[in-house]
């Protein structure tokens, strides 16, 4: 592109007020961390999540790395930038994960494969078109000062909390087979698993599905080396190469060949084009690479912390620190050990609702599995806060931080879209991070089903969004009405 850029805002590297604020945030984070460890060394467990979150936030903002745009911008404006960045991140995360798994530090659990993944992902994918970001994207944009994205986080938090604990008329939609299967699981009475649609969905449907890596499904899990090779190659590397090839062929090649004035390209010229696509946005490619490596390192770091403190779940440390209030009935809390976004936000929502007096533990999601810890002791919650803080530091340093209040249209989109994202994430058992990014990089093929569902939902969302834009323009009668 022949772009003449007038530098009117001063060199990006020059020190300015934003740099001071970014440094102030960083110093505050370091001081808080020192205070926390000095208070109780076991709080280092939380700090691992928090600082990996800061790392994710820095890189997400640097690369404008939002997985929502990976599918949305393909359909809306035919731009493959983020889809390419996402594939780079998947490839590298998978390679680092392979090393971490072989080193014995992986705490990864595959997701059950079923129709719920496709349906939940489609609801999630529809929602992200209207919120302007996925779950992580909304966090980093909140760090840029985008109040609309903060509303998205609020909507995701409360919608999930309500979805997993709701009963009433929703129970009438539950198939009798789910109720019977849930009842047969012989769960503790206080969970009342035959009341509440999500409990019956979880115990009566999801638990009956198979959750396994590809190596397990193929019976190739006896040797760790063979299992990791099968999982990494067939579930991550090969699909990534195929998708990169498709993105190049469909979206990038026509414009690239036209600009390069190549009529009959050779294989070498195609490879050069593929490379040009991967490096077209340097920031996105670098962020993708950095996020892939960081996400893999995160799995190792949490594994090392668990070994250091001799625990399998942070709930054990919380109990040892006399913080039993937020634990599930198994004395556990949500503690994935890797990049994950939505469940900790559901816990924030549930914690607030509990403070308002409504019971939130009579269900499997909070009562049996994840608990409702205080936000001050929610380890993955600090990863989300870390993402906001890291993104704020990067945005301040790059002069891109700006408080942005949404207008009514954007606020409604944020709340409705965020609610759909929350519902979709719970039905699919995760968002594009937990149910896609963390799965396909660890040998679990269910993540590709999630991506397919998310793409289908985003496609429908873009169609509805485009209709909305046209209708708005026609209503105003302005020049945008085409």
């Amino acid at each position: 592109m022949n772009t003449t850029v007038a530098a009117r805002s001063g060199p990006a590297t020059a020190w300015h007020a934003g740099s001071t604020k970014a440094l102030g945030l960083l110093v505050a984070g370091v001081l808080l961390s020192i205070w926390a460890v000095a208070t109780d060394a076991r709080l280092a467990y939380i700090l691992v999540y928090a600082w990996f979150g800061v790392g994710y936030g820095l890189l997400l903002q640097y690369g404008r790395f939002c997985m929502a745009s990976a599918v949305r911008d393909l359909f809306a404006v035919r731009v493959p930038r983020m889809a390419v960045g996402m594939m780079i991140a998947v490839g590298l995360y998978a390679l680092v994960s392979a090393v971490v798994t072989l080193a014995g530090f992986s705490g990864f659990h595959p997701n059950p494969m079923g129709w719920h993944v496709l349906i939940g992902a489609a609801i999630f994918g529809f929602g992200i078109v209207f919120t302007g970001g996925c779950a992580s994207g909304s966090l980093y944009k909140a760090g840029e000062g985008n109040v609309g994205s903060m509303l998205v986080v609020v909507a995701i938090s409360f919608s999930q909390a309500v979805v997993v604990s709701a009963g009433g008329w929703l129970d009438r939609l539950v198939p009798a087979s789910w109720t019977a299967s849930a009842e047969a699981k012989d769960m503790p009475a206080e969970l009342s698993v035959t009341q509440g649609w999500f409990d019956q969905f979880t115990a009566g449907y999801v638990w009956d599905l198979k959750a396994a890596t590809l190596a397990d499904r193929l019976g190739a899990a006896d040797s760790p080396w063979i299992a990791v090779t099968v999982n990494t190659l067939l579930v991550a590397i090969v699909p990534v190469l195929v998708i990169l090839g498709l993105l190049y062929w469909v979206y990038f090649r026509p414009g690239y060949m036209r600009r390069a004035k190549i009529a009959s390209p050779t294989v070498g010229q195609h490879l050069a084009g593929l490379w040009a696509m991967c490096t077209a946005s340097r920031n996105t490619a670098l962020a993708g690479a950095g996020l892939g490596v960081l996400a893999g390192a995160h799995v190792w770091a949490t594994g090392a912390m668990r070994a250091r403190f001799e625990v399998d779940n942070f709930g054990e440390l919380l109990a040892a620190m006399n913080h039993q209030a937020g634990l599930s009935m198994q004395d556990t809390v949500f503690d994935p050990g890797y990049w994950y976004i939505t469940t900790q936000e559901a816990q924030w929502g549930a914690w607030v609702i509990e403070r308002l007096g409504a019971p939130m533990r009579d269900n499997i999601f909070f009562g049996l599995d994840n608990g409702v810890p205080s936000p001050l002791l929610n380890a993955p919650g600090f990863m989300s806060i870390g993402i906001i803080a890291g993104a704020a530091m990067m945005a301040l340093a790059r002069r891109e931080f700006k408080w942005k209040l949404p207008n009514m249209e954007a606020a409604v989109f944020a709340l409705v879209g965020g609610t759909l994202m929350g519902i979709g994430a719970r039905v699919a058992m995760g968002c594009n991070i937990g149910a896609f990014f963390a799965t396909v990089t660890n040998g679990d093929p269910s993540g590709w089903v999630f991506l397919l569902g998310m793409a289908l939902g985003a496609f429908a969302g873009v169609k509805v969004f485009a209709w909305w834009v046209d209708w708005q323009a026609a209503r105003r009668g302005d020049d945008l009405a085409l």
Binding site: M1, T4, S9, R64, V77, G132
Partner: protein
């Protein structure tokens, strides 16, 4: 704040999408460029950084030229010449 798209002179257009997050800025930019004639210039004002990446890629693919970029304080003012 609503989206505004106006013709400000002969072959000169302005699109202001400040206050909007993805995908509004890139979708409105695409629509605006469709409305314009070849050689026309669009002054685009937005404040959602990630939209800039998509708009840049969009211009690159379609051969439209970004002839000026003024950035600072979280706002971006780009001038795009349609191919």
């Amino acid at each position: 704040m609503a989206v505004t798209f106006n013709q400000t002179g002969d072959g000169k257009w302005t699109l202001d999408v400040r206050g909007y997050s993805c995908p509004h800025p890139q979708m409105y930019t695409k629509k605006a460029l469709q409305k314009m004639a070849g050689g026309d210039e669009l002054t685009l004002v937005f404040d959602n950084p990630s939209s800039g990446e998509s708009i840049m890629a969009m211009c690159d693919a379609d051969g439209n030229e970004i002839v000026d970029r003024i950035e600072g304080g979280g706002s971006f003012t780009w001038t795009i010449r349609k191919a």
